[in-house]
């Protein structure tokens, strides 16, 4: 299977290795195999594949991970620029939200 590759050296993911307790949750939740674990410590083995979804940071019990979470969606960024809000499409919730509605 082909591994898609996106822009290099842009992802905002950071790991504070001193805090990491090696629980491995981040490996479970990451959809792109960004992490590897080695003798009880996690390390970022492939940062360029990170899509900034935030699953790892949300689930790290000791807050060892940080990432600027956002949507990798051009239409959302344009909408955000036009409306002066964070990149998302439509309202954040409720039936009026039209999430970029195609």
């Amino acid at each position: 299977m082909i591994k898609h590759r996106y822009l290099k050296k842009v992802a905002t993911l950071e790991l504070n290795a001193d805090k990491c307790i090696g629980c491995g949750v981040c490996l479970d939740v990451c959809p792109h195999e960004v992490f590897e674990i080695n003798s009880g410590k996690t390390w970022i083995s492939d940062r360029d594949r990170c899509m900034e979804c935030g699953a790892c940071a949300q689930n790290c019990p000791v807050e060892a991970l940080t990432v600027k979470v956002g949507v990798g969606c051009a239409a959302a960024i344009i909408q955000g620029k036009l409306k002066g809000t964070a990149p998302c499409c439509g309202g954040s919730e409720g039936d009026k939200s039209s999430c970029c509605g195609g």
């Binding site: 299977m1 082909i2 898609h4 590759r5 996106y6 822009l7 290099k8 842009v10 992802a11 905002t12 949750v25 479970d28 939740v29 990451c30 959809p31 792109h32 195999e33 594949r49 990170c50 899509m51 900034e52 979804c53 935030g54 699953a55 949300q58 689930n59 019990p61 600027k68 979470v69 956002g70 949507v71 990798g72 969606c73 051009a74 239409a75 959302a76 960024i77 344009i78 909408q79 990149p87 998302c88 499409c89 439509g90 954040s92 919730e93 409720g94 039936d95 939200s97 039209s98 999430c99 970029c100 509605g101 195609g102």
Partner: protein
């Protein structure tokens, strides 16, 4: 337990095929018509200490399939929401596993149809008809709703164990350690795709690396094409109208059938550019050189413009050729760039970076083309 890959909070073309809709974000769906049987998939009831719990079918009916097809092409309104709450599959008891799902009908259909022969509970969260991935990005599929729903359905009285299987794609919204603290339930992250749920259960609730990975295969990308295309219908009709007017004003042949055929002929290069940006580029995505989507679209658009000018418009003047080389690639590029929202691997930082360069370039090229065209009309070169 969700199927397929992709963007969040708002990817652009979203809701869709039961196979692939899970992580594309979507417009929340309109509510079903009143009076209609909204839950034909409820086939019975399960007695528990807290009362009757609806039992759901594991069949994926033609009607479900038709609903999914309609949603993919953005047609009509169907029952896209499942009432939140607890449901049973088979004959679950106090020891049965609990799967968590969103109340987007297609996520739910997909999940239940993969559970043939199993006895378990499905806890449906209120994500306002949005799939797991997008709802997790918005936070509606999140710690708070999960904890609330657990107590609302009185789950601790129904099951004796304290574990929940949450789809991995819900992880951006759920904090496993916080759920444990607030509700006493341990969150286990299940596989990305619903189809892997039985295997995940069979392996003793362990996911393989393949189950954990979000993919974006050619099939996944192809399924998205209808959405992308539907979104271009309005501007395309507008353009058709403009071309018609231009042909009318240029008025070489008066109001005749040839006017229509000229308009359609003029439309072909744009149609090609739209198809290049929405179908061809996404399809060939990993094979087109360069990481940036806008760049990939530009390259393919340039290729199309070249082919068109060379073979079809070769008898036309050089300004005509140049006009197409300036105007067509940015159209394909823009549409391809919008496909970032549907992809399963682009980051906000990455998209922002490529747009910084791509958007001005698209504008300059398109405006340059229009200036050339207007100049050609006025000065006649």
């Amino acid at each position: 337990m969700e199927k397929g890959p992709v963007a969040r909070e708002c990817s652009c073309s979203c809701n869709g095929d039961p196979q692939n809709s899970e992580n594309r974000c979507c417009k929340p769906m309109p509510p079903a018509h009143a009076g209609e049987n909204r839950t034909p998939w409820v086939i019975g009831a399960i007695e528990t200490s807290t009362g009757k719990i609806p039992q759901v079918s594991t069949e994926y009916t033609p009607r479900d399939r038709f609903g999914a097809w309609k949603a993919r092409w953005g047609i009509g309104r169907m029952d896209y929401k499942v009432p939140p709450g607890l449901y049973g599959v088979g004959n679950p008891d106090a020891n049965s596993l609990v799967l968590v799902s969103a109340n987007y009908k297609m996520s739910f259909d997909r999940l239940r149809s993969e559970l043939k022969g199993l006895d378990l509970w499905i806890l449906v969260l209120d994500t306002r008809g949005v799939n797991v991935w997008c709802a997790a990005g918005k936070g509606t599929f999140g710690t708070e709703e999960l904890v609330h729903r657990i107590s609302q359905v009185r789950l601790p009285e129904i099951v004796t164990h304290r574990a929940l299987i949450v789809p991995q794609l819900g992880a951006p919204g759920v904090s496993a350690h916080k759920v444990l603290k607030l509700s006493g339930f341990r969150v286990l992250y299940g596989p990305v795709r619903a189809a892997d749920v039985p295997a995940f259960i069979g392996r003793g609730l362990k996911a393989t690396a393949a189950m954990r990975e979000v993919r974006f295969d050619m099939r996944d990308r192809l399924v998205l094409a209808p959405f992308e295309l539907v979104s271009t219908v309005k501007p395309a009709l507008l353009l058709l109208a403009v071309l018609f007017l231009v042909n009318l004003i240029a008025g070489k042949e008066g109001f005749a059938l040839s006017l229509v055929s000229h308009t359609l002929a003029d439309f072909i290069p744009y149609l090609g550019a739209v198809l290049t940006g929405t179908v061809l580029t996404p399809l060939l995505l990993p094979y087109i050189p360069g990481p940036a989507f806008a760049w990939k679209g530009w390259l393919m658009g340039l290729l199309w413009a070249g082919v068109y000018v060379w073979f079809i418009a070769s008898q036309a003047s050089w300004t005509h050729g140049l006009f197409y080389l300036l105007i067509l690639p940015p159209i394909a590029s823009y549409l391809a760039m919008n496909f970032t929202g549907c992809s399963t691997y682009t980051s906000l930082s990455g998209v922002a970076k490529e747009m910084k360069f791509a958007v001005p370039a698209q504008l300059i090229s398109a405006v340059g083309g229009i200036i050339l065209w207007v100049g050609g009309l006025l000065l006649g070169f």
